[in-house]
Every structure is written in structure tokens, then in C-alpha cells.
Symmetry: C2
Subunit: 382 residues, 2 copies
């Protein structure tokens, strides 16, 4: 089985369509992966995630190692069987989660020492250990443990992280794994062009099945993020999948695809759903706003999701204001459906050689959003 | 349309099967109604509630009056349309909720004055106002405002509540309502046989479509509750439906049915689900217990619910321990399915003249539970 094959390239941009083969089905790219850190996409059953158009989700080695434990999951037949998801699973290595979630962490050449955010236990996550966890989980795509420096960081800090990430990637691919468990490396380098290039080059020499861009959307300017993406994509072999980690908003996906990226994950559709921030073709709907109290229409009249087929904005607002769990659930379904449809639209536009039109139309429809963003200030849900 | 018709009586007990006709379908009795106080059965979509076997749910005039307001719901086409539930809706009058939830309440002959538990606003709920709210909501069955004294209370307090409840019922039936909106009276009287009889007799003289037993399961001995039920049932006209409010555990439903009751509602299946207390044919499963950490089996091997078809006890325990919303949801579905199946089993047993066998079998299967209850002490979920 070959992990990845390209079958169409856009003529007007770097956008491309591919097929990512996993032991749990073929994923059409560009693809977005909903986040299911703890063995569940929050609030949804696996078949609902699939109905939103997704064939691969993201799990987290960090969360599942701490609770319920990768050995327990392995003894239950692996993560797919444990959570009853028969599609693909990409697992993050834990490097980023340790830095962002753990109470204390100490990075040495051996690995990342950290205190669990759950009970304070001290653990050491080495590149080998992270791979072993992901092997036990039965991941289809495993991420190597990386050293992800915070933003901002100095060039020398970024260089140290790049070089360590490359050394760790070399150690990672030596860990025995099952057939058809792909391993992706992670390009670091902060906002430094030369370091991003060096990181990509260092990883290319290792036998990796794909490449991720890490350490982006951490607070840098959006223009800097896209510059880094362009720099890295130029270095990467076209025949391998490219994955932008932890990004982002719908426009980030459109722009990432335009720059030749194939895979994305982000908590935004699910987390924003929980805070009542709903995505629509014409812009966002903050469902708590009083203007929706008596609004009998659906969240998005053009949306085909099961929520928009049935429930009014007024009802969703009531559920949100009354702190009812059903509201969180319906918002999540709607947002994931929006993301799923967006990716489906992007794939179709690329295949039909009208990516540029799709991209302009995407922004044209959302003029109303940029206006409402100005009115509201740059409010971000908590 | 005649509200209620009996079509089978058990030969070995007071148990009976009937059909309750509403503007939103026929409900086979004995029936249990899941609680949807705020316009949603917590966490579930209407079709899921239906799939669990329910054709009628309970809404609360108190909650919906305060938020989002009965007038808003009326302007949205009524509660059925607002929440997209096309089955029957019985609404509680608000009397009990005010006493249990409001910050302060003052009962006069005019009605119940209270401070909202949401924002402290002062409101007066009169019998007429409660009916008007329920008419606006579009309820299929409306409960009259009652005076529900706390437990314990003195005989003279209970008598005052009985007499006021009767006077309020007389005022309630005078309020204009739509065709096929049935009105049920509420029998009060605490744990005093004579008062329960007096209350039932007083309500029979009023043109009510059915009768409820209120003020039970408030802390009295279970034997006292069943004695009150027996006393009241003897007084009530057999041709009218009888509804036990806010009760209870599975065994309470079996015993209530045995004593000739037709309708039940309770938060137990949904609330216990949220606390990880799962009902099974052989007893309860407290899913947080360590014994389930690696248990690959379903919650109940005999259960036909979608949760037991797919997910293991180990996975449900993980979701519960990790505080994942999906766990709450799956637990709720399982518990409601259990209640729905129990009621279906009771109806079938009555129709087939084997209610006594069903009842013995129900207890025989649950021997394991009473053992585990002893081991655990009388632990009750929060």
C-alpha cells in the first residue's frame, strides 16, 4: 500500500487533490480532521462524525496515555474498536499538548519530562515512548514527537527545537510498528524562513510518509504563517502529504489548500460550537445574540445539515441561553457539517479546475461577516 | 375525541391498559414520560426520545414561562414546533417547581408569588395564569396549579393544601383552552388517608379529564406512598387516566402499574444517566466503578438500545471518568431505552394476562441488585 497518491493539481494555484490510503479506508484530500483528543469527538457518536463528511479524525497520544492508558486501549482492541470509529485515526505525538497542558515540563535530549495535568504524576515522554503509545493505540498515522517552542521565541531557541525535532524523528522511525502505520515528521522553525527550510530538509532525509507543519497559529501574524507555509511547501517532496497542524478557521483552510496543503485539524469547529459560534456560508452567527431570540429560520438557509433541516435559530438560542447540553451538541454538528461541506467543496472545485472561482466566491459570500466582525470588535469565544 | 379508553384489565391486579388520545397521537398506557423541563429532554433529539419508545414527554410551565417565555414559544408555533417534537406533551403547572426551585415563594388564595431562580424577578402565578401559559405552549395535557405542601407537614397544613388545590382546580377549568387540550387535577393530602380521599372526591366533582397524584415521593416511607396510591385509586373513576407525578425508580413503576396507575414521569432515568447510574435487567451499573475499566461487554447484554449494540462498559467508564459529554448522552439514551422497554413489557404483560408473572420475574432478575445495594450502602447519585 502506497500512503499517498496525487490525482489532480489546480492550474491556478498549488491546490491539489489526493488519496491517502490507510488501513481504515481511503481519505480524499484536502481533508479536515475533527479533534477527538480523549477518544471521542466531543458530544458526537462516530456515525455522526462520518455523516458530517469526515473519514479521519485526530486522537491525542498525550490524553490517551494519561487516561485511560494506551495499554488499556490496546487490550480493548485498539482505539478504533474502543471508540467504535472505523475510519482513519491520526494521533498527535503529545509534544504540543505537554507544552500547552502539562503543569510543568522539562525538555532534554532524551525526551519531554512533564507532570500530568490530571494528577501531578511525573512522566517522561521520549520519541520512542510516544511512538510505542501510538502503535499501541493502533493509529493509522503517527506523528513523531517534536520540540515545539512557544511563540515568540528567539532564532537560537527555534534552531535548537528544529535540530532536536530532526534527531527525534530519526529515533522515531526506528521504533517497530505495524504494517500500514504511517509516520509523519513535523517541520518546526518558528517564523524563520531559513530554519523552516533547514527543518524540512532535515526531515526529507529520513524515511517519513508525510510532513506536518507545526508551531504555527501560535500568535504570529497570519501573513507570517502563510509565508512559512509557502517556504516549507517549496521544500517538501510533492508526492508526500502535507499536514498543517492545529489550524484553523475556514479561511485558513481555503488559504492552506491554495498553498498546496492536504490535511488539517483544529478544535475550532467543535470548541466554537460549544461557545455558540456558528459558521455559515455568509459569515458567523453568534447564537446567544438577542437578535436571534425570535428568529424562526435555520442557522444557515443553505446548509444541508440535520440541525438546519429541523431547528430554528430561536430554539438554538434558547438551548444556549438555558445552558442545555442539546444546544452544544446541535451547534457542534452544524459546525462540523460546515467544515465537512467546505472541504468537499474545495475538493470538487480543484477536480473541476475552478479552485480560483471557489476561493473568490468563498470570500464574496462572507463580506457580511467581515462587517459584523468590525462591529463586534475581534471578539473570540472563550 | 374522548381522552381515554381502557381496553384491558389485568385479572390478577389493578393493572390496566388504555389509550390516551391527544392532538399529537395516541399514547398507549401505562406510559412513562421523559422529562424535558426546558423544551428538551437533556442531550437528546426528539427522534431519539421517540426511538426509546416514548410518545409523550413532560414540559414545565415554570421553566418555560421564565425562559424563553410562553409568548415567545407561542409566536414560534407552540412548544411542539419550537422543539420539533411531534408526540404528546403534558405540562406541569409550575406549583411544585416554584416550591422546589424558586428563591422565595408566598402562597395566597390568589396564587403563588415567587422570585425567579434565574434573576430574582417577582412573579405571581395564579391558577388562571398557569393555564394560560400552558394554553400558549400548546400542551396536550395541562396540569392545574396545585398547592403542594412539603414533607413532612401537619394534617392541618395538608388539609389547607387539599382544599386550596380543589378551589384552584375549579378556577382552572374555567380558563378558555383549545379543543383537545385535556386538563388533569392533582390529588394532594400528604400521607393522610382521609385527606387523600377528600381531595379525590373534591376533584371528581369538577369536569377534569384525568387525575394526578401529587406530593408523593417527597421523603415519606415507600409503604406510605403505596398506601396513598391505593387509597386514592379506590376513589377515582376507572374510566379516567391516573398519573403519578415525579415517581420514580423502575420498581416504583411496576408497583404503580400494579395499583392501577396509567402515567408516570420522573427525572430519574435522565438525571441518573448523567451521574453514571445505569439501569439493567439484572440491576444497576455504576459505571464509574473500577471493575468496569477493562470490561469489554455492553452495559446490559439483554438490552436492545443503540448504546449496548456498540459501546463497551470500558468505553462508557472512560467517557464518564474523562467527563466527556458523549458519556452523559449515551448513558441517558441507555436509561431511557430501559424505561421505554420496561413500560412496553408491562403493557404487553397486561394485555397477555401475565402481569403477575412479569412482576415476579422483574424482581427475580434483580436479586443481584439488592445484593449490590447492600454492599454499597444506600448510595444515591448526586
Amino acid at each position: 500500500m502506497k500512503p499517498f497518491s496525487l490525482f489532480h493539481r489546480s492550474t491556478s494555484s498549488e491546490a491539489r487533490c489526493g488519496l491517502l490510503e490507510t488501513a481504515h479506508g481511503t481519505i480524499e484530500t484536502p481533508a479536515f480532521m475533527p479533534v477527538g483528543s480523549q477518544g471521542t469527538v466531543k458530544g458526537l457518536e462516530p456515525e455522526e462524525v462520518r455523516a458530517c463528511g469526515f473519514r479521519m479524525i485526530l486522537g491525542n497520544a498525550y490524553h490517551l496515555f494519561l487516561r485511560p492508558g494506551h495499554e488499556l486501549i490496546e487490550s480493548m482492541g485498539g482505539l478504533h474498536h474502543f471508540m467504535q470509529w472505523d475510519g482513519g485515526i491520526l494521533t498527535d505525538s503529545g509534544g504540543y499538548q505537554i507544552v500547552s497542558l502539562a503543569d510543568l515540563c522539562k525538555i532534554t535530549e532524551e525526551g519531554v519530562g512533564f507532570r500530568s495535568h490530571l494528577n501531578g504524576d511525573w512522566h517522561l515522554l521520549s520519541p520512542e515512548k510516544s511512538m510505542a503509545i501510538q502503535v499501541a493505540l493502533g493509529s493509522d498515522i503517527m506523528m513523531v514527537l517534536d520540540h515545539c517552542p512557544p511563540f515568540p521565541c528567539t532564532e537560537s531557541q527555534a534552531r535548537e527545537a528544529v535540530q532536536r525535532t530532526t534527531r527525534w524523528a530519526r529515533r522515531s522511525v526506528e521504533v517497530p510498528r505495524k504494517d500500514h502505520q504511517w509516520v509523519f515528521g513535523i517541520v518546526q522553525g518558528g517564523v524563520f524562513h531559513a530554519l523552516r527550510k533547514e527543518s524540512a530538509q532535515g526531515l526529507i532525509d529520513i524515511n517519513l510518509d508525510g510532513f506536518a507543519l507545526g508551531g504555527l497559529s501560535l500568535g504570529e501574524e497570519k501573513s507570517a504563517m502563510f509565508e512559512m507555509i509557502e517556504t516549507v511547501v517549496q521544500e517538501l517532496p510533492p508526492a508526500r502529504p502535507r499536514y498543517l497542524m492545529g489550524v484553523g478557521l475556514p479561511e485558513d483552510l481555503v488559504e492552506g489548500v491554495a498553498r498546496g496543503l492536504d490535511l488539517f485539524d483544529c478544535v475550532i469547529p467543535t470548541r466554537h460550537g460549544r461557545t455558540g459560534w456558528l459558521f455559515t456560508t455568509t459569515g458567523r452567527v453568534l447564537i446567544k445574540q438577542a437578535q436571534y431570540a425570535k428568529d424562526p429560520g435555520p442557522v444557515d438557509p443553505e446548509c444541508g445539515c440535520p440541525v438546519c433541516q429541523k431547528f430554528s435559530r430561536a430554539y438554538l438560542r434558547h438551548l444556549f441561553v438555558a445552558n442545555e447540553m442539546l444546544g452544544v451538541r446541535l451547534n457542534t454538528i452544524h459546525n462540523l457539517w460546515y467544515y465537512g461541506s467546505l472541504m468537499q467543496g474545495l475538493r470538487q472545485a480543484i477536480r473541476e479546475d475552478r479552485f480560483a472561482e471557489f476561493r473568490s466566491e468563498f470570500y464574496r459570500r462572507r463580506i457580511s461577516e467581515s462587517q459584523s466582525t468590525k462591529e463586534l470588535g475581534e471578539e473570540v469565544p472563550g
